[in-house]
């Protein structure tokens, strides 16, 4: 099953931890907020993606299953 990273934009405070942990999938805009690549999380990056989710200080990042 496909997994995607999703940001809750209300909860997100732009700490930027996610972009440091998975730079392959998350960059930051000029105000520091995450831009998530419009693609599924490749198997090889799932570990990093899960770490980014658990390390988000605002609990704004989620790894969701997409059918």
């Amino acid at each position: 099953m496909e997994r995607r990273l999703r940001v809750d934009p209300v909860a997100c405070a732009g700490h930027g931890a996610c972009a440091e942990l998975v730079p392959e999938l998350i960059t930051r805009d000029e105000w520091g907020y995450p831009i998530v690549a419009d693609q599924s999380v490749p198997r090889g990056l799932r570990r990093e993606a899960r770490r980014a989710v658990s390390n988000c200080p605002a609990l704004a990042l989620a790894l969701t299953r997409v059918a």
Binding site: V10, D29, E30, W31, G32, Y33
Partner: protein
């Protein structure tokens, strides 16, 4: 709509033969509030469908869509509400935060009983025991609604109790998740939703939210049936809708029109004088440069193009516009469309709930760049900055405020491209500096007035 094919055919079409022609929702003449006696004399008693879900097939056959702007099929929402557990709270949404729209408050003022009938029917369809009418803060209007509800209580015609809740005077107050937040006692701020379906009041009860005009149509469909409803409008977009019109001479009105009516008819534009490359189109109210369709989350169209289009999403959506909640504004040829849009863009930036970083940061910068482009000899960096920021805010909010605002602003840059070229050379075709598009007076907005 394909749903009507899969649902059972409606039982014997409802009641009396419906009244011919328009208007359906408002009185044929005058703007005098319709009391319960006059309402019953015109439409007869409210016809309950007889149980949850019963009205769904008739509404599906009618093809009624939400009149709050999104045009979502009402039958689909009603069907979801009938199946939801626990039974949803039913809400009539009359927040009408869009400053250019006057149709919901006009309907509530003049024909409150149609809306209240529809609210009862929606509550029945959803199996709900209570209902809420969510209406912008206005003492006279709230007084009028309390009076209408009291009339109904005295006549004993309502099955469920109706509470009136006031909506803050904010652009986003009627956004569905903001409304739900307000009803749970919190500020009317949009919320992030990761799941589809009916919104929920906290972790528990779902809510069925319908625009007040949608409810009024529901009250008539229950009485006169789907075939009657379809006597107005187009096959794909049946029925009538309330529109708020702004003519170039400053006249404004709320009027009920069949979907599919030509914008030229509605605004008095001369379609014979319209064509490619025509700069402005004559109209009953003077020459028109462009038409704003769908309000401040809508889009500008050149007058020459608008004069050949119907009020229908099938024709408007391919051009990046939509019917929305029925706002149509014909910009006079002596106004600068960039200046008008910049003024509204600043308002939209201030109406960001400020919750999502990209919207909070991006919209004020976009508005400032547009303001710069609306002035003489703008620095071309403003244009590239604006485009970049527009790309950065789109699709990144909890609600559609950034997307809708950017759609409106980008349409201005498209439609007023020639004007922007003149500004680069220090010129402007706008000779009348007075504001045209309406904005609320006496702000500024503060963080405190979201509830």
């Amino acid at each position: 709509m394909t749903d009507s094919l899969t649902l059972p055919a409606p039982a014997a079409a409802a009641g009396a033969p419906g009244p011919a022609g328009l208007p359906r929702l408002l009185p044929a003449t005058g703007i005098v509030p319709v009391d319960l006696r006059a309402h019953l004399a015109r439409h007869g008693p409210l016809r309950y469908a007889g149980g949850p879900g019963r009205l769904v097939a008739e509404v599906a056959a009618a093809g009624l869509t939400g009149r709050g702007g999104a045009a979502f099929p009402v039958a689909r929402k009603l069907a979801a509400a009938a199946e939801a557990s626990p039974a949803p709270l039913v809400v009539g949404n009359g927040a009408e935060g869009e400053p250019a729209s006057n149709k919901d408050r006009s309907l509530l003022w003049i024909s409150p009983h149609l809306v209240l009938d529809g609210l009862q029917l929606a509550a029945e369809a959803a199996g709900s025991g209570t209902a809420v009418l969510y209406v912008r803060r206005n003492q006279r209007l709230h007084g009028r609604l309390a009076q209408a509800i009291a009339e109904r209580a005295a006549a004993g015609i309502d099955a469920v109790r109706v509470d009136v809740v006031s909506a803050p005077d904010r652009f986003l107050a009627g956004e569905e998740s903001a409304l739900v937040s307000r009803l749970t006692g919190k500020p009317a701020l949009p919320a992030y939703r990761s799941v589809r379906g009916l919104p929920r009041l906290g972790p528990g009860r779902p809510a069925l939210v319908q625009n007040v005009e949608t409810l009024a149509h529901l009250a008539l469909i229950a009485r006169y049936g789907a075939a009657w409803f379809r006597m107005a409008g187009t096959e794909a977009e049946p029925g009538s809708m309330l529109a708020t019109l702004y003519l170039p001479d400053g006249r404004t009105s709320v009027t009920e029109v069949p979907l599919g009516t030509g914008l030229a008819d509605l605004l008095g534009l001369d379609p014979a004088a319209a064509g490619p490359g025509v700069d402005s189109v004559p109209s009953v109210g003077g020459p028109v440069r462009a038409v704003l369709v769908g309000g401040y989350h809508g889009a500008w169209l050149p007058a020459a193009e608008a004069a050949r289009l119907p009020l229908a999403n099938a024709a408007l959506r391919p051009l990046g516009a939509s019917v929305g909640a029925g706002v149509l504004a014909a910009l006079p040829a002596d106004r600068c469309g960039l200046a008008e849009t910049a003024r509204v863009a600043r308002y939209l930036a201030l109406e960001s709930a400020g919750q999502c970083g990209p919207c909070f940061n991006g919209l004020p910068r976009i508005a400032a760049a547009l303001d710069h482009l609306a002035g003489p000899r703008p620095d071309q960096r403003a244009r590239t900055d604006l485009e970049r920021w527009a790309g950065l805010v789109t699709g990144r909010g909890a609600c559609h405020h950034p997307d809708g605002s950017v759609r409106f602003i980008r349409s201005a840059l498209r439609v007023f491209a020639a004007e922007a070229g003149l500004h680069e050379r220090g010129r402007c075709t706008g000779t009348d500096p007075r504001p045209f598009l309406p904005l609320p007076a006496g702000r500024p907005a503060s963080d405190a007035d979201w509830s």
